[in-house]
């Protein structure tokens, strides 16, 4: 299982703040996880279409190639706008 979190406009677009997910076979990177989520269709296609979506693995910014393994916390969010 991994823990998924969604923030800000992404959270609102998906209608969910997060979920627990059993990592499917073959999904071991942020990029593969995005493809898996996009395949749900509808609002979830944003994981395939958005170029600006950011990811963090275990609370550290992570690119598409970053490893994802059971027990990880993976967050997706739009570019940050604090300060």
């Amino acid at each position: 299982m991994i823990k998924l979190l969604y923030f800000a406009s992404l959270r609102e677009a998906l209608g969910a703040a997060g979920e627990s997910l059993e990592l499917p076979a073959g999904v071991a990177s942020v990029g593969a996880l995005r493809a898996h989520l996009a395949a749900r269709g509808g609002a979830w296609e944003v994981f395939a279409t958005s170029k600006s979506l950011r990811a963090a693995v275990n609370q550290a910014m992570a690119g598409a190639e970053a490893r994802v393994a059971p027990g990880d916390e993976v967050a997706f969010f739009p570019p940050v706008t604090g300060g």
Partner: protein, 148 residues
């Protein structure tokens, strides 16, 4: 370094005083306060990623401490709903050297703007919307990569 993420307001005068208190070598304190601009905004709500926020800020401060000779660093970022004119963020840096204090303070703000997990939602007369990230903020952060 001291980092706070909080709903409560903060006291700039007390924070600045604490940055040099009982430190004979702290001859320079640079600080920055970011406020909610009110031109077309009724209110602003700041969301963040609690488990990551302080970690991200601590990483930014650690990078500043590697690049410049600093004595103390203080970062405060508010979350929740804020009204125009309210303080959002405070960054203060003490150093023996004026330029180090200025550079580190601006570096921390530029990195915070592009790397710390905060998101702003504005309430306007036309409704609420999430604030778009600005290319000028990305450019400001990138400046520090090339060593200007």
């Amino acid at each position: 370094m001291a980092i706070s993420v909080q709903e409560a307001d903060f006291d700039c005068g007390a924070e600045i005083a604490a940055l040099s208190a009982a430190d004979d070598g702290a001859g320079a304190v640079a600080s920055f306060v970011g406020l909610v601009r009110g031109e077309n905004i009724r209110a602003m709500t700041l969301e963040h990623y609690p488990a990551m926020t302080e970690k991200a800020l601590a990483d930014i401060v650690a990078q500043a401490e590697q690049r410049w000779q600093l004595r103390r660093v203080r970062v405060i970022h508010r979350v929740g709903r804020l009204l125009p004119g309210e303080r959002i963020v405070f960054v203060g840096v003490s150093s023996s050297h004026r330029h180090d204090a200025f550079a580190a303070c601006e570096f921390i703000m530029d990195y915070l703007k592009t790397r710390a997990p905060f998101w702003k939602k504005e309430e306007t007369a036309a409704g609420a919307h999430w604030v778009d990230a600005r290319e000028s903020d990305d450019a400001a952060a990138l400046r520090w990569e090339s060593g200007r």
